[in-house]
Amino acid sequence: MNIDQNFLNIDPFSLKKEDKLEKFLNYINRLTIHHYKNCKIYGKIIKNLKFKIKKKHNLENFPMLPVRIFKKYDLQSIPRNKVVKKLVSSGTSGQELSKIYLDKENARKQTIVLKKITETILGNQRLPMLIIDRDPKILDRSVINAQLSAIYGFSIFGKHYCYLLDDEGNIDYKKLNEFLKKYSHDNFFIFGFTSLVFENLIQKLSIKLICSNFKNGILLHGGGWKKLDKLKINNDNFRKKLFSKIKLKKIHNYYGLVEQNGSIFIESCECGYFHTSVYSDILIRNNNFEIAQKREKGLIQLFSLLPTSYPGHNILTEDIGEIVGEDNCKCGKQGKYFLVHGRAKEAEIRGCSDVR
């Protein structure tokens, strides 16, 4: 199962609906058949949903997998000996983790597509990279969690890596100043998790102790707003605070699932919305799973053309979002543009089966 090279080579934000849809549908259809044939569990689900695999379908009629399934079951569409990498979600302790099995080909495609998408904000040259985290120094890379996977994944766009935090989690001003002295006169790349960026760059960093500002920095951050919701920090004041404190302007939030690594959604500075690429798509569903209108909030369903070694191409998330528009965003990117409003809230009644 392969996406043809031409499709991989086009600009990820260049296709309008009419140019993308037919091809995209064709790939989703092929992926569905591929996983149906090669992943036993997926095949069983499709059969039980009474989905007619040979018929033609609209995008919204393809069967979606709820994201939690990847936590409870090992879903693979390749023989075990072909697995080269296992990704796990970074969830907090006690939670079950998603497990994603990659073969060489799938891992390669993730890298290519991540590069295509990220290049649109970083350019195609490697930039000096400041990472808002500790140096993970982990040798075994065959099993990696989402946090590490993101750092490693994005590190291919950087060089002269500098980790902001020391082993105790404090800001290492000496290293930071060395980095800024050398590289801050030109574009440099900053990567980190939203909550860590907030904690360190907005809250902890002392302006007095740094030798330069961050006006040439390009920040890419992701991982969700859950921790910041409590502090009533939203995207807007996050950006304002970064600008007023360290003159950082180019700030891009990204959104994506560990189950769909590679085909991430990046927020444009100009509009503040996430955008689908040619490799991905989004649908919003109401509580009856009907397709929601534009600007109507609902559950986010995500498509990706990349997953071939595991059936992650069509996933119902537990996030709430809304589609703002399609093919007419002021930032010039084609495709759907949307907002994410966080996780659906936990239900109240939980039965008598558990005392915890």
Binding site: K50, I349, G351
Partner: protein, 410 residues
């Protein structure tokens, strides 16, 4: 001995200062006391509780609180007393330690009432999760405890909240005369490892499975209006607790000659009620869909799946259903199967089965079914619509008798 116990109970109060447990109702003078079952004081307390709760406007937003007001009312307690049929000399055992699930809002109050009605002093570990129902109940009890006539009850009962620190569980377990545990198998096994005194009585209410049976022949004879009513009752049983209570039905057995029309008519009516009355939020539908997919993975291929939007999923499992307790729905997913006669139900019943809610059977038919089939499961049969009720006979125990002791006098 009594003096020693009092001191130990004082220790429990001490825990408060170390912030290990949060005592929800102040009482510094814990004083163990036992009564006869159904003592006037306790009946008076339950009746006042019911009235006080009825006077709160908020009560009427929660079906489980409305039910609670009825359960604790004078009339209903009188019925319970009659059911208790005591012709022996009985007294409470002493101090009962209730460990209640942290995730159901009203279960703890029934466990407490069981302890009270059987004549005991009680320490009740209440759910740590935030539930408005829980708060309303505790406020009600707090205000009753302020009344002078209930001072004795105030001083012999205690509501506590703590994360599951084993030390606290150990401390209370070591001084109790009865321990009541509600919970999943894992939790029960963990708590059971904690020592209790030699003579202490223990009751465990573990995870159970419930189902419904409908007599097709009777349903055919039933007027349309009454089928609607039946669907409404089934809705109450199936949806009020999102199918997460032990007594919520998951499986419907249609008994008699298969009649697809009438079966579908029933589901259609149910769907209409759900559409009108049940508000799904996003997490409900995600949970429901995830549960369905998990069932697909865990079970043999299903024969059929019928969905009424996300309101209602009806699943026909493969012909051989083993381990019925694994066929579980969430927020309105029901499995169905046709059987020719009620005795065929025995092939599906095991120890896990608790409540069977029924329609169209006489008590005599059901009694014969239970007595003639050497069943290991089914502790309770109630008409559809009453599945979620709570009785003093529960999971096969006569709870009030287990929590009291008999004195023989010749």
């Amino acid at each position: 001995m009594a003096e020693q116990k009092k001191q130990k109970l004082g220790d429990v109060a001490m825990l408060d200062k170390n912030k290990i447990i949060n005592r929800l109702i102040e009482n510094r003078n814990f004083n163990l006391k036992v009564f006869q079952p159904f003592s006037d004081l306790v009946k008076d307390f339950l009746n006042d509780f019911s009235n006080e709760l009825k006077n709160k406007r908020e009560t009427y937003s929660y079906p489980n609180l409305i039910y609670l007001t009825m359960w604790a009312s004078k009339k209903s307690v009188k019925k319970l007393e009659k059911k208790f049929k005591n012709n022996q000399i009985r007294l409470g055992r002493g101090l009962i330690f209730h460990i209640c699930p942290s995730n159901v809002p009203t279960n703890f109050i029934y466990s407490f009432f069981f302890g009270l009605l059987s004549g005991n002093s009680n320490i009740v570990k209440i759910p740590s999760k935030k539930f408005r129902e829980k708060e309303i109940i505790l406020l009600t009890i707090k205000s009753l405890f302020k009344k002078k006539k209930f001072l004795i009850l105030k001083n012999s009962n205690c509501f506590i909240e703590y994360q599951n620190e084993i030390e606290t569980t150990k401390k209370i377990s070591s001084i109790c005369d009865g321990r009541v545990i509600w919970g999943g198998d894992k939790t029960i096994n963990e708590i059971r490892k904690v020592w209790i005194p030699e003579r202490t009585m223990e009751i465990t209410f573990s995870d159970r499975y419930s189902l419904s049976i409908i007599n097709i022949n009777q349903l055919k004879k039933t007027k349309i209006n009454e089928i609607k009513l039946l669907a409404n009752k089934f809705f109450y049983d199936g949806y009020t607790m999102n199918q997460l209570a032990c007594n919520s039905p998951h499986f419907v057995f249609w008994v008699g000659k298969k009649n697809t029309n009438i079966q579908n008519y029933f589901w259609n009516e149910l769907n209409k009620i759900v559409e009108k009355k049940f508000v799904f939020d996003e997490i409900h539908v995600v949970d429901k869909y995830t549960n369905l997919i998990e069932n697909f993975i865990n079970q043999k291929n299903f024969q059929n799946l019928k969905t009424f939007k996300n309101n209602l999923y009806i699943v026909d499992p493969s012909s051989d259903v083993k381990k019925i307790e694994n066929f579980r729905g969430v927020s309105g997913t029901f499995f169905q199967k046709n059987i020719k006669q009620i005795n065929d139900l025995k092939n599906f019943i095991n120890k896990k089965c608790q409540t069977v809610s029924y329609f169209g059977f006489t008590k005599k038919q059901l009694e014969l079914f239970i007595l003639n089939n050497n069943l290991l499961g089914i502790d309770r049969l109630v008409p559809i619509g009453k599945a979620l009720g709570i009785d003093i006979i529960w999971d096969g125990y006569e709870v009030l008798k287990s929590l009291s002791r008999t004195v023989s006098l010749e």
